[in-house]
Symmetry: C2
Subunit: 342 residues, 2 copies
């Protein structure tokens, strides 16, 4: 028999909440019998939304939460101040073991802060990185860290490399994933102070398949499966990916609509082009996991539709089945300093 | 009468040297009567190449240089060791005032090192940033710094903002250019330590049009004319721009070639699409200036063709006519520490 899994889902978070979130949650429980969801948020609203669907009632419950954390709110104050928000209530359910995972399309900042302060880090993990999957020419890569916790140390990046490697192998199914560090050249002596310090440490790691430095130019062609970067750099890469992708696609559309001749051509090209570009759509991979916590937290895009919410929930199944938290805990050496403290 | 200008051009640098370089140089002197070029490199080779063209002999001379610095060579050693290389000879011509500018598609590292050590920085300039022009949806922006000199301080970024602003206004013709700093959020309190320290300093600058933080997502849509970043981040942005651009274009082509129907459509779409995508081609803006030096140094792409070389040479005209070095020198306050030293 399959493992049962319970996922708390933030019904109030994201641009398309509650409609798309609840739709995605219902689709997930209908698709996989071993999944239960706990919808966190304003009970009356959630109940009303659920009326539209036919679904297995015993696997969809509501965890009432009266408050909503808005995207613009300062994260620390929001997590501390709104104890009855859908994010805090969902994360507490994970901490208490009532849920295995929490999925939210809400405020990134609040999710990052709540992940560390409510769910809590695995013993020995210094920082919990946000690790979205980004599309590449023929597949995808994991970009770790894209969180808000910038100015990382070398020891953080080493943990990111190991956690990312475990996640890619056991959740995303990439055998012996190639781990690269983002750099401004491929030679070992290149880089900023952080990369120069991290490089030899990664080279020494026996448990990862370190392929060295990769330049940002090579990321879209899939030069590494796990792309390690300090959060500021990772964030820039992720957002430029989104911005440049949409600008180029709109340029292509503009070009196709510019003459009568090209408009006719566009009609013929459209179906095939749509198929190809779909492979460059990040939403089909689900949201980004926040790794290294005592339970899984998944951050979906703010503009997530039901498909991404559903995929994010289903992604939690492999995470639990593969015992990722246990693997992270066993494989990542506890730094001497923290060992003493514990 | 127009100002006369002499540009030293590295005939040996880049993937397409000497053919495309010399072709571009000849085209530049033919296009503008006030331009003279000094081709630096191996005399016999350059002479032979020149035989193919009809050009005003009095405005094309050869500055013999027997050595060539290869792309892979460690830059400092190359500049010190190869005194008779086309790069060192060209830069010395600028230092001695025999040339106003130096244009090269050769080793970036050697050009950056040579710029500072041979041409030399303007008094008070702490670092010479490399500032390429990148295409945006409806125009272009200046990305400053993309050099190899990473881990900058806040005072460096402030100088970059001012120099970039002067260059965009007086060479590229953008009135009152909007200056933004690359950040992971738009709120003033966001950022890494460097950005947090730099932000208030930029806000205080009366001589630039500071528009605050910009996220990488907004760069392609043209949210700022001058994009200030520490070199590691700038380098990542520049290279991801190149890599993602070519990956997406190849995906679009692949989609168009995937079915018979789409192949027919592709034929109709092609001319219009080519025109639109041309606006996203960086080479038409010429190379990237290395700013803050006692003379202009322009780094062209390694794979430059004649068009980029020609445009880079012509770009030097505005640089001289607008007295950019003088403007930089007058507008950028000499930091107190360096003032004492001088």
């Amino acid at each position: 028999m399959e493992n049962r899994i319970t996922v708390a889902v933030d019904a109030m978070g994201g641009d398309n909440a509650p409609f798309e979130i609840i739709k995605g949650a219902v689709e997930a429980v209908k698709e996989r019998e071993n999944v239960s969801v706990l919808l966190t948020g304003q009970e009356a609203i959630i109940k009303k939304e659920l009326e539209a669907y036919d679904y297995p009632k015993e696997r969809v419950a509501i965890l009432p939460a009266s408050q909503v954390i808005e995207t613009g709110e300062p994260p620390v104050a929001a997590i501390k101040g709104k104890k009855d928000s859908s994010i805090v209530v969902g994360m507490k359910a994970v901490r208490k073991g009532e849920a295995d995972a929490f999925v939210s399309a809400g405020s990134s900042g609040a999710i990052l802060v709540g992940g560390t302060t409510i769910v809590g880090r695995i013993r020995g993990i210094e920082r919990a990185p946000l690790a979205p999957v980004i599309p590449t020419r023929d597949g995808f890569s994991l970009l770790i860290d894209c969180g808000a916790n910038v100015d990382a140390r070398a020891s953080h990046l080493v943990q990111f490399a190991k956690m990312g490697s475990i996640y890619m192998e056991h959740v995303m199914g990439v055998k012996n994933p190639r781990v690269g560090i983002v750099n401004i050249g491929v030679e070992e002596e290149k880089g900023n102070a952080l990369v120069k310090e991290t490089y030899p440490l990664l080279k020494e790691c026996k448990d990862i398949n370190f392929v060295g430095s990769i330049e940002a130019r090579e990321i879209p062609s899939g030069a590494a499966d796990v792309i390690v970067a300090e959060a500021f750099v990772g964030n820039v890469i992720l957002k430029l990916y989104e911005g440049l992708g949409s600008t180029l696609i709109s340029k292509v559309k503009e070009g196709m609509m510019s003459t009568t001749r090209s408009k006719v051509g566009a009609l013929l090209v459209k179906p095939a082009l749509k198929e190809t570009l779909k492979s460059f759509d990040a939403s089909r991979y689900g949201g980004a996991p926040l790794l290294g916590l005592k339970g899984l937290v998944v951050k979906c895009h703010g503009n997530s539709k039901a498909l991404e919410v559903k995929n994010s929930i289903l992604q939690c199944i492999s995470f639990k089945e593969q015992e990722i938290s246990k693997k992270i805990s066993e494989n990542i050496v506890v730094p001497a300093k923290e060992k003493e403290e514990l």
